[in-house]
Symmetry: C2
Subunit: 500 residues, 2 copies
Amino acid sequence: MLEKIDLSKKMEKELYKQRSDELGLRLGRLQRACKEQGIPVMIVVEGLSAAGKGTLINELIEPLDPRGFTVYAVKDPTEEERHYPFLWRFWNMLPPKGRINIYDSSWYRRVSANYFDGSTSEKQLTDAYDEIKNFEKQLTDDGMVLIKLFCHISRDEQKKRMKKLLDNKETAWRVTDADLKRNKKYDEYIEICEEMLRRTDSAYAPWEVVEAMDRRFATVKILSIVAGVLEQELEKRKHKKPPVIDSRLNKDKEMTSSSLNKVDLSNTLTREEYVKQKKELQNRLSLLHSELYRRRIPVVLGFEGWDAGGKGGAIKRLTQALDPRGYAVHPTASPNDIEKAHHYLWRFWTNMPKAGHVAIFDRTWYGRVMVERIEGFCSADEWSRAYTEINDMERHLANFGAIVIKFWMQIDKDEQERRFKERQANPDKNWKITDEDWRNREKWDAYEIAVDEMLIRTSTTYAPWVIVEGNDKYYARIKVLRTVVEAIEARLKKLDQQGD
Amino acid sequence: MLEKIDLSKKMEKELYKQRSDELGLRLGRLQRACKEQGIPVMIVVEGLSAAGKGTLINELIEPLDPRGFTVYAVKDPTEEERHYPFLWRFWNMLPPKGRINIYDSSWYRRVSANYFDGSTSEKQLTDAYDEIKNFEKQLTDDGMVLIKLFCHISRDEQKKRMKKLLDNKETAWRVTDADLKRNKKYDEYIEICEEMLRRTDSAYAPWEVVEAMDRRFATVKILSIVAGVLEQELEKRKHKKPPVIDSRLNKDKEMTSSSLNKVDLSNTLTREEYVKQKKELQNRLSLLHSELYRRRIPVVLGFEGWDAGGKGGAIKRLTQALDPRGYAVHPTASPNDIEKAHHYLWRFWTNMPKAGHVAIFDRTWYGRVMVERIEGFCSADEWSRAYTEINDMERHLANFGAIVIKFWMQIDKDEQERRFKERQANPDKNWKITDEDWRNREKWDAYEIAVDEMLIRTSTTYAPWVIVEGNDKYYARIKVLRTVVEAIEARLKKLDQQGD
C-alpha cells in the first residue's frame, strides 16, 4: 500500500491558495450542517514521525469554528490509564452528536509505535486488531463519521526534518529517541504500518494515505477528503429510509429455545442455612476482594431480571462484604441528555472498573435488547446488532483480564404480583413500586421472548449469564454470592497455576 | 480541641445493636427523602491512621441503598492531578443533587498529612486554608450538606493497631512508612490536626470529632450525627422562604460608577496595519505557547461581551497562533441536565486547563451575574454572592500559577444593529443570529447595569478585566492578541527574575 504511493506530489502556491480558500468555506458550512443534524465526526491523523501531523491539523482546523471541535494529542497511556482496558480512554474521548474530534495519533498507536517498541505483545496485538475493528464498526453503525488519515513521508525526508528540529535548541525536545529509532529502522516500521492499514481498512472506516512531503499538497488533500466525506454523509442522510421498528424478529415462539422455562423455581433455603452460608461466603469474599486489589484484577457484575426479582437485595449482600473504596454500584436509569448524545454503550464504558476494582451494574447495557427493543426506542437493526456489540465489549473486558458475570434474577409472574403488593403495603418499601412496574408486567410475554433470545445470544465462556432462581430470596442471594466467590477463586487458582 | 476528647467511651453490644438498627432504618428513609428533594450530601471522614476510617465507612453505608452513594478513597494526587489546581480533582468528585458522596480522606490531606510530610509548603498551606474555606462556603451556600468527621484515637492505641496490621502478612502492606512516622511524632501531628480543625470549623461546615477507640461507640456516633444533620436539613427546607428574585439591587443608576461609558469606541486600525500587527503578534504568541508548555504555565482566557461584539473573531485570531494540542475552546450554552444538578461553577471547574495548557471560554461563569441575574434564573442572594465566589475561584487559579484574563468586547448599540442586519443578509453568517439576540438587545440597559457592576466587583490584580473597544474589528482583535502576548511575556520575565 505505502510503497505504491507517489511521494513526489507538490502544489504551487497560487493553486494552493485558491483551493484551500474554497475548501475552507465549504468546510465551515459543512461543520454547521453536521452540527445541525447532530452528526458526530472523528478524524484520526496517523502517520510517520515528522510527517507534520501537527501542522496539518492546524491547517485543517483553520476554517472550522473553534467552538465545535476538540483536538486530542494521544500519547502513550499513563500509569492510571494502563489500569483500564485499552480502548477505555478512547471511549472517554468520543465526540457527542454534532461535534468533531480530531486525534493526533490514536488507538492505532497500540498496533504501530507501541508494537514496534515492544510494549504491545503479540497476544495484545491480535486482540487489539479485533478490538479496534469492533470499536470502529460499532461507532460507525451508530452514525459516527470516522475519517482516518495516514501521513506518509520518505525515509530521507524524515531524517532531514528530524535533523532540522534537533539543530534548533527550541525544537530539539520534540524529537524523541523512539522517533530516531523508527527512522533508523524505517523499512521495518513501514512494514508494521502497512500491516495496520491493511488489517483495519474497511468500507465503514477506510484509510486515506496522505502524501506529506509537500505541506501545500497535503493540506489540500486533507481538506478535500474531509469535505468530501462530510458531503457524502449529508447526502446519504437525505435519502435515508426511516428505520424499521420491530420488537420481534423470531415470530415463531414454538421454534425458539427457552432457558427460562427450564428454571426450577422451587429451590429454597431455611433462614438458618441462609445466615450460616451468607456469613461464610461473605468472609471469603471479603478476603478475596483484597486479593483482587493486590493482583489488580477487575470485576464486572451485571444484574438484570424481572422487576422485584431481588436485584437490590442480592447486590446488598455482595457489597456488605466489599471494601467501599474498591467497588462502585452503578444504577442504570433512562439516559440523560449527554448519554443520549452518545453511543448507547458509552455510559457503561466510562463506568468500567479499573484494575483491582469491582463495578456492579444494577440494570445494564442489556437494556438495548430488552426495554429498548420492546418499547421501540431503537430500530430492529439496532437491537439486532447489539448482541454482537455487547459480546465484543465483554470480550474486550475479558481480554484485559476482567472477570465478567451477568445475573438474571428469575421469578414467576405470581411471585412478582405477591411482591408488588407487599411493597405497596409497606411504607418503607412502597417507593420501590411505580405505575410503570405494573405496566411492564403487562408485557411479560414480550419480555420473555426478548430475554430468552438475549440469554442465548450473549452467554459466552468469558462472560456467562447465570440464571438465579429467585422465588426464594435466601436461595437467590446465596447463589449470587457463591457464584461470585467461586468465579474469583477459580481465576486466582488459574493465575497461580500460570505462575502469575 | 482534641486533648479534651474523652477517649475512654465505649458501648455495650446489646445497646449498640438496638441503636444501630434504629439509626439504620432512619438513615434509609433519610437517604430516600434527600434523593426525592434533590439534596446533595458530602460526608468527609478524616482522622488518624488506623483510626478505622474504612471500617466506620462500611458501617455507615450498611443501611444505605448502594445505588445512591459513592465512596472515594482519596490518596496523594497523581502526577496528572498535580497538573491541575489543588481543588480541581474534588470539583470532579462532587455529588449531583440527590446523591451522597463519602470521602475516605479528602482535601484536608493537603493541610494535614501532606503538610506534615513536607509536600505542602508554608505558602501553599496558607492558600489551601483559604481555598478550602471558600470551597465549602460556596458549596453549602448552594444547598450542599457537608458533614465532616474526624476520627480520633490515642497514640498507644494507634501503635497497637499498626503493630497488629504489620504482624499479619496479609495486612502489613496497609501500614506505610508515613503512617509509622506520624505515630512516632504523634504530638506534632496532633498539633497540625488541631490547627486544621480550628481553622476550618464553621457554622456551615462544622467538624465533629469521633472517639474511635471503640468501634461500636464510633459507629453509633457517626450514624447519629449523619441522621441528625439530614433530619435538620429536611426540616429546614420545609420552612424555607421562597428566594427573592430581583435583578437590581443598586437602584440608583446615577450613583453607580460606569466603566462602559468611558470607553472610547472611535479607535480604529487600517487593514494594512492590522495584517502587519496580526502577523507579528501571532508569531510571538506561537513561540510563547511552546514556552508556556515547557514551563507548565496554565492560561485561562474568558470572553464576554455584547452579542455580535466580536468574541468569535477575536478567539479565532488567538487560536490561529496556538498549537491545537495545547488549547481548548469551551463554548458556554445553557446548562444541560447534569450541569443543572451541580453548582453553577462546576462545569467551568471541570474544564480548567492543566499546567501548560490554554483554556478559552466563549462566554463564561459570569453568566451568573448577567443573564441569570437579568432573567431571574437565580435569586438575588445567589447572584450577589457570586462576585465573591468568582473572585475566589479565579484567585485559586492564580495561586496555582495560572494567567487569568477576562475580555469584555464592547460595542455600541448602533454598531450591534448594523452587525445583526449584516449577519442576517449573509447566508454564511445568518446562523449566528437568532430571535433571542434581538430579544436580549431590548434589555440593553439592564445588561449595562449588570455589566458595570460585574466589571467593578470582579476586576482583580490577579485576574483583570480588559475592556476591548470593539466597534472596529481590526482594532479589537489586535488589542486582544497584544494583551495576551504581553501578559505571557510579563509572566515569563517575572519567573526569569525569580530564577524559575
